[in-house]
């Protein structure tokens, strides 16, 4: 027997600045925080699934939709960090990645980009990468002095958890 092989796709939702936002007086840190807003609670996993299927239907037709949804699950999505993980079959993961990149709206939410970060073969590796990714983003915002304190805090938390 041959094992069924799958791919895991890590993505995040980015909010580019619209016409209404005034850039004057904002530092680069403030702008970075505006990009990584929380997604509103109206955007549920169900909304993401239906919208992705609609876009695949538009660009690839019935054949593309049939291929891509053979093994298609949203494993994880959090509104606070606006990141998520999708599982799909290995042969047809191209449909799903390009469907995510061509998205222009989610439900009633407009002015957003879906940013595909990583594609991996196992759940464990993609989870590790997601933690590392968000840490790196936070490090850029916090200054260097605070940065060291922040690292120490994180390390102490993980050690305590391991001891337990």
């Amino acid at each position: 027997m041959v094992r069924f092989k799958s791919r895991y796709v890590l993505f995040e939702i980015i909010y580019p600045l619209t016409e209404e936002v005034d850039m004057s007086g904002l530092s680069s840190n403030d702008i970075k925080l505006l990009f990584h807003k929380y997604t509103p609670t109206e955007v549920t996993p169900k909304v993401i699934m239906t919208d992705l299927k609609k876009i695949i239907q538009l660009y690839f037709g019935d054949v593309g939709l049939g291929h891509s949804t053979s093994m298609f699950q949203l494993k994880y999505f959090s509104n606070k960090t606006s990141t998520g993980i999708i599982r799909c079959s290995r042969e047809d993961c191209g449909y799903i990645i390009s469907g995510l990149t061509l998205m222009t709206k989610l439900g009633a939410q407009k002015n957003m980009i879906v940013n595909v970060i990583k594609v991996s073969g196992t759940m464990k590796k993609i989870e590790e990468f997601a933690i590392k990714w968000s840490k790196d983003n936070l490090k850029q915002i916090i200054n260097e002095k605070e940065n060291r304190l922040f690292e120490q805090r994180i390390l102490s938390i993980t050690r305590k958890e391991n001891e337990k």
Partner: protein, 338 residues
């Protein structure tokens, strides 16, 4: 390292009104967010209206942009360059425009007789010079008359879906252009900008891009080896490089006018894979980092070198040094410290 050599410079609505830069600011901040490192601002002109004010304004904008947003040292910066693209309809009008944009001359003969040696030094402002041929005659003119010492890039009119239907691109003309070291550009923004049910523009875009990829196939690289007049040492290296890499003469850039029309490395790869049939991941990513850097290097050589082969100085190729062993058949060497 990620490059985007085509971010559109905003147009004036009237001749008297000022340009609104707020949209461009937002676009450049999204590009930093998507981890781009080298970005070129693209100023599109026809040969009739080239203004000197615009050139000065561009350099002022670049300085003010850094001053506004990149005060902190910890945040990675993008490097901004300037680029001009000239819409070419009548080849006879081109000579003056290219002179103005900052090159020696179109033909080698006219450099010695022409009076324009002093004005060239003052007008060396654009980092990249690109040409957009609008008919077959002008494309043929590029392949016969122009060099990589005058032009760095060639683009096509992908954005306009109702433009007169494309002339059939010949394999011979494209290979002739690539043999001279001029790169050809593909844009991905038309795939994202067309909203709703406007399938016509998307179909036409995919059709055009497919045709260009077909022309710049493996055989065009073979042609370089026959025509190459470089020294024996570099010739062997060239043969190895060109036989392995299929699309050496292409680059990919966004062509975006809006902050919603840009994607990161994986996103661009997925678009190119699904719609344009490029399946090798390393092959596509090479068109986003290595080949655009060669274009930037070519532009710098055009401005600062003696006949494109000798440049001296400490920081000449510091930015583009990584992974580049030869340019158009000439070897790149670092000066040894004594």
């Amino acid at each position: 390292m990620l490059c985007d050599l085509n971010v559109l410079w905003p147009k004036k609505e009237n001749s008297s009104s000022k340009i609104d830069f707020s949209e461009l600011d937002k676009l450049l901040m999204t590009l930093t967010e998507l981890k781009y490192t080298h970005v070129a601002l693209n100023y599109v002109v026809t040969p009739e209206n080239v203004s000197d004010d615009e050139i000065i304004q561009m350099n002022d904008y670049i300085n003010s942009f850094y001053h506004k947003y990149f005060k902190d040292i910890t945040i990675p910066k993008i490097k901004l360059y300037t680029r001009i693209t000239i819409m070419m309809e009548d080849p006879s009008k081109m000579q003056n425009v290219i002179k103005k944009a900052g090159t020696a001359c179109v033909n080698n003969k006219s450099t010695h007789s022409g009076p324009s040696t002093k004005s060239n030094i003052t007008n060396n402002t654009f980092d990249i010079i690109a040409i957009m041929p609008l008919n077959e005659k002008s494309l043929h003119n590029i392949s016969t008359n122009l060099d990589c010492s005058t032009v760095d890039l060639i683009t096509f009119d992908y954005n306009n879906p109702y433009a007169p239907s494309y002339y059939f691109l010949k394999h011979k003309t494209i290979s002739g252009i690539s043999a001279k070291g001029i790169k050809i550009e593909i844009i991905y923004a038309p795939m994202l900008s067309s909203t709703g049910n406007s399938t016509v523009s998307r179909v036409k875009y995919i059709n055009n891009v497919k045709q260009i990829i077909r022309c710049s196939g493996r055989n065009s690289c073979k042609n370089i080896n026959h025509n190459n007049t470089s020294t024996n040492n570099t010739n062997d290296k060239n043969k190895k490089n060109t036989s392995n890499n299929k699309k050496n003469n292409l680059i990919i850039s966004s062509g975006a006018a809006n902050s919603l029309q840009v994607r990161n490395k994986l996103g661009v790869y997925s678009i190119m894979m699904q719609f344009n049939g490029m399946k090798n991941y390393k092959g596509v990513t090479k068109l986003l980092d290595d080949n655009p850097l060669l274009v930037l290097l070519n532009g710098r050589l055009r401005k600062k070198s003696y006949q494109q082969c000798i440049v001296t100085g400490d920081d000449v190729i510091a930015d583009t040094q990584i992974g580049i062993s030869d340019i158009n058949g000439f070897a790149v060497r670092q000066k040894e410290h004594e």
